[in-house]
């Protein structure tokens, strides 16, 4: 069942440039377990789009099946949503994005939905560089069916069932990098400071933007032996650096140490300011990102932050040369060649 949040709000809630408060970006009350990492991610999404002043109805949120895929009900209640079939969200977003290039497409998925049943579609949507934000709420287990290991569970990780997972984990950012994704990041549901600017940067990126978010399952996979628990993630998180996001319409005012920061202008004019912790890592070099991921895997760390971004990304619409006017706004006048042309075709077939 869905339960609506009471309408009453404090009258002095801060408004964004469009005059919307954060409440305008909320959804129904979450029915996920208390303390679920997914709810924090929903909160980060709400904060990011509110601060970016995006009109709620210009966002379409789509998901597959699972706990993660239920979460779009709990944010952006004024946006159209689509809870599709298991592992197939990417294809539905692809079609939707072909129909109307003017909306923001927010895909929400989980580790079962993406790394198992949906691994094929995940790879192909990344490869086509569809202009979308793809958030994986990654808890290493199947929640709705009561805690089975998923394909992102680390080898040796022990969930509530008490058995160590014998298989190696699928690293979604590593696959995305290999397959040609143009924006790859990882974060943690418990680190809003990092997650919110990453979501903003992903929204500004033109092309496929993956954020793999470690999001502990409090009910089935928050045990001492799990590598996707709150404690384990906090202890083993290692960031590539920090990301500050400056929207297009704001001036950059804060001063940073120029040796350690780098400003990158996004396609929509926004700027992301990256502060690196390690000079050997370059987020604009795919090889560097792949190496960093492999190194962190070896050392048992969870590498977070912006891992890779292609500043010259060309999205699927560019590749297909689709018209600037969204295809769903065209009528018979633009689309139908008419009877005279048809008569010529008939003539050629006689």
């Amino acid at each position: 069942m869905s339960y609506q949040i009471p309408k009453f709000r404090h009258p002095e809630l801060p408004k964004n440039q469009l005059g919307y408060t954060k409440a305008d970006y909320e959804g129904s009350i979450s029915t996920l377990c208390a303390g679920c990492g997914h709810d924090s991610i929903s909160g980060a999404i709400i904060k990011a789009v509110h601060e970016l002043s995006i009109e709620p109805h210009k966002i379409a949120k789509l998901s597959g099946i699972g706990c993660s895929s239920k979460s779009p009900t709990y944010f952006l209640g004024k946006s159209h949503g689509f809870n599709s079939v298991h592992g197939r969200m990417p294809s539905v977003v692809t079609g939707a994005a072909m129909a109307n290039r003017d909306l923001l497409y927010l895909g929400v998925s989980g580790d079962g939905d993406t790394a198992s049943i949906g691994l094929g579609q995940y790879g192909h949507v990344a490869r086509r560089n569809l202009n979308m934000v793809y958030i994986v709420m990654n808890n290493g287990c199947y929640g709705l069916t009561k805690g089975q290991d998923s394909a992102t569970a680390d080898e040796g990780s022990v969930s509530k069932k008490g058995e160590a997972n014998p298989f190696s984990a699928i690293d979604l950012p590593a696959i995305a990098l290999q397959i040609g994704a143009t924006f790859v990041a990882r974060s943690f549901s418990g680190d809003k400071e990092q997650l919110v600017p990453l979501i903003k940067a992903a929204i500004s990126h033109r092309g496929f933007a993956l954020i793999d978010v470690v999001s502990p399952c409090v009910t089935f996979n928050n045990t001492p032996g799990s590598t996707k628990s709150y404690d384990y993630t906090r202890e083993h998180m290692e960031a590539t650096g920090t990301v500050d996001f400056v929207p297009m319409h704001e001036e950059i005012t804060t001063k940073y140490d120029p040796g350690k920061t780098r400003d990158v202008t996004m396609h929509d004019g926004s700027v992301i300011r990256l502060k690196k912790v390690d000079d050997s890592f370059d987020p604009f070099d795919r090889l560097s990102a792949i190496t960093a991921l492999e190194k962190s895997r070896e050392s048992g760390q969870i590498l977070t932050g912006l891992l890779y971004m292609d500043k010259h990304s060309r999205d699927l619409h560019e590749a297909l040369q689709t018209s600037r006017t969204p295809l769903n706004q065209m009528s018979e006048h633009e689309l139908c060649p008419g009877s005279k042309v048809l008569e010529q075709i008939n003539q050629s077939l006689r």
Binding site: M1, S2, P56, H57, K58, A60, L62, P72, T73, K78, S79, H80, G81, F82, N83, S84, V85, R88, P90, S91, V92, T94, G95, A96, A97, M98, A99, N100, D102, L103, G120, Q121, G123, H124, R128, L316, H317, L320, Q321, T322, S323, R324, L327, N328, Q329, M330, S331, E332, L335, C336, P337, G338, S339, V341, L342, E343, I345, N346, L349, R350
Partner: protein
């Protein structure tokens, strides 16, 4: 030329079959032959019979010429043109007594294959080519053209029509015109010099085709999608449906690219599989674009889960199924109508899908364009059921027609103004009483009209609920919508017998021409049967009335399990004894002779047991 049986004597009424090796360029020469007859004003129905292979295996091209306009397969071959030693023994056996076997006699015929009751005509095609051309590729290609030239003499075709056709076909590649005409002349001259031309089977120019066109169904579908306003096509390659999207691509490139900006008013995405293809169509349609995919049987199986979602979430979806012989890979290059049941009830749970059955390229074009109106009006998947025979063969067809005053029916979609004027939007509220609800596209209104689309049950306001009564209410509304759908889908076409009769026959799709021809033969023998061509599922009430009005109704289909008959029994609750099956499932199009034979076996008073029951008895089971 000598034969123990009198040679078949026919003017404008015969079947000729070409036995070739695939990958040798024979298709275009054979096509040239068929099209030339068509231009001489003769109804033709060429059919490719080809292997699932790129190069080297036997392939056949059967052309029926019928001044009376019978376009289905007749059965039997009067003239075999053989250039493939691999299949020669079988090809010789297939010729009707009194028929002709025309072959390449560069290598002498194996005398063991000789038949006294047919006429052998040997033309040294390879020798002529080897003498005439140096390039091996030319030797290969022109061999085909040379035999067309020889046929022109043997059958008394109008040579000017042939050479005119060559000029038309190579427009833009003028260099190729003269060598091709020279090759035609070479064959023509050889036949004139060595045989008594024409032979006893020949053609005469007529005006029996009117303004008809010669076109394959898949091309008509692709063109229909362009005219119907499709902007998104998502697909995965599969025989025999691939050429549908190829045709859409071809015509869209010609008619949908802005000459000034180079922008495309369409998007074609080659998906990673059929699951993704239908997912993309559903996503695009949900977002207000007209989208479609094309596939064949295995694709329908893969798309089934999504089809359940589209049915339940009520998302317009256009799907073209060009059927082939299954199950599994079955015979991917052979025709069948064997996806009827799996498409009609595609998906888990209680689902019913709308099917359309076109039977000509003109109807493919019409239905393809109509599909988008129907899908958006009815907010449900529309599955256009064609098959390899219609899809990949050139079929003689009435010309394609378009009414320039036609506006697309975009169905019940609310605009920003509509939403402003209403209190509360309910996605699944039956406002008009026809069980079709209003929908909104994403991005329409800042505060109203947004809803959550899901495959999970929900109430009339699209709010998630697991209450049994809400679920049931929704499922009952979908049943009422099924009744509304009957008012929109194409109605059946009645073909009454010339005299009142208790016998009826139901047929659909590519069984049309052969069935109508069989009905003519039967009427000549005094057996009158009313015909009805079903064009859609759900069945219109007229179908029920037709069955009720007749004591015995034959159902003609190209599958083993009598799938449409099962649908008729399931939907109308008729007993199995009333509906008699006429079936063909060997992968070739059903022939008129076959239909006539099976109907005669099952006429009242006949003691021949129907195939299904006979089979069970033979297996020792209950009758």
């Amino acid at each position: 030329m000598n034969a123990s049986v009198a040679p078949i004597s026919a003017v404008n009424d015969f079947v000729i079959k070409f036995a070739n090796v695939n990958g040798t360029g024979s298709a275009s020469a054979n096509n040239l032959f068929a099209k030339a007859l068509f231009r001489m004003g003769l109804p033709v129905s060429p059919k490719n019979i080809f292997p699932s292979n790129i190069q080297g295996l036997p392939t056949w091209y059967e052309v029926r010429v019928s001044e009376k306009g019978y376009l289905g397969r007749r059965g039997g071959v009067d003239i075999m043109l053989s250039v493939n030693p691999q299949s020669m023994a079988d090809d010789i056996r297939e010729v009707e007594p009194g028929g002709y076997f025309i072959y390449d006699n560069t290598k002498a015929l194996d005398l063991r294959l000789h038949r006294a009751d047919i006429t052998f005509i040997g033309i040294p095609l390879t020798a002529i080519c080897n003498e005439q051309y140096k390039d091996p590729r030319q030797r290969q290609l022109f061999k085909n053209v040379i035999y067309v030239g020889a046929l022109a003499a043997l059958l008394d075709m109008d040579f000017k029509v042939l050479s005119g056709l060559v000029s038309d076909q190579f427009k833009g590649k003028e260099k190729l015109i003269l060598p091709n005409i020279a090759a035609l002349e070479l064959g023509h001259q050889y036949a004139k010099e060595h045989f008594n031309c024409p032979i006893s089977i020949r053609v005469e120019t007529r005006d029996a085709v009117g303004d008809s066109i010669l076109l394959d169904g898949n091309t008509a579908l692709g063109l229909g999608a362009v005219y119907g306003g499709a902007t998104v096509a998502a697909w995965y390659p599969i025989t025999p449906s691939t050429s549908v999207v190829d045709a859409f691509d071809k015509y869209a490139k010609r008619m949908r690219i802005n000459a000034g900006t180079g922008e495309h008013n369409y998007a074609i995405v080659q998906a990673e599989d059929e699951l993704a293809a239908i997912g993309m169509v559903i996503g695009a349609s949900w977002n207000g674009a007209r989208a479609f995919t094309a596939t064949s049987g295995p694709g329908i199986s893969l798309m089934s889960e999504f089809l359940g979602l589209a049915y339940f979430a009520e998302i317009p979806t256009v799907l073209i199924d060009v059927q082939r012989a299954g199950p599994s890979t079955g015979m991917p290059t052979r025709t069948q109508q064997s996806d009827v049941l799996s498409a009609a009830y595609a998906s888990h749970g209680d689902t019913k899908q709308v099917l359309l059955f076109p039977s000509s390229p003109a109807e493919c074009f019409e239905f393809a364009a109509d599909c988008f109106d129907l899908a958006e009006r009815l907010q449900t998947p529309i599955i256009l059921m064609t098959d390899l025979d219609l899809g990949m063969n050139d079929n003689m067809s009435p010309p394609l027609k378009w009414d320039d005053n036609r506006a697309y029916d975009r169905g019940k979609v609310l605009s920003e103004e509509d939403l402003d004027a209403m209190e509360r939007f309910g996605r699944y509220l039956d406002v008009d009483g026809d069980a079709i609800c209003y929908r909104t596209y994403p991005g329409t209104h800042p505060t109203k009209g947004a809803f959550f689309t899901r495959g999970t049950s929900r109430d009339e306001y699209a709010i998630y609920t697991e209450k049994g009564e809400e679920y049931e209410k929704n499922m009952l509304r979908l049943m009422r919508k099924w009744e509304t759908i009957k008012e929109y889908v194409p109605e059946p076409i009645l073909v009454p017998a010339s005299q009142p009769t208790d016998l009826g026959v139901i047929f659909y799709g590519t069984s049309e021409s052969s069935t109508l021809e069989a009905l003519d033969y039967l009427a000549d023998e005094g057996v009158n049967i009313d015909g009805m061509r079903v064009r859609s599922f759900p069945f219109n009430d007229d179908v029920e009335a037709f069955i009720e009005q007749h004591d015995r109704v034959f159902v003609v289909e190209q599958n083993r399990d009598a799938q449409l008959r099962t649908l008729l029994m399931a939907e109308f609750e008729f007993g199995p004894d009333k509906l008699k099956s006429v079936l063909c499932f060997d992968g070739t199009p059903i022939s008129a002779r076959n239909i006539r034979k099976q109907i005669k076996q099952q006429l009242p008073g006949s003691n021949v047991t129907p195939f299904q029951r006979r089979f069970r008895r033979a297996q020792g089971g209950a009758a």
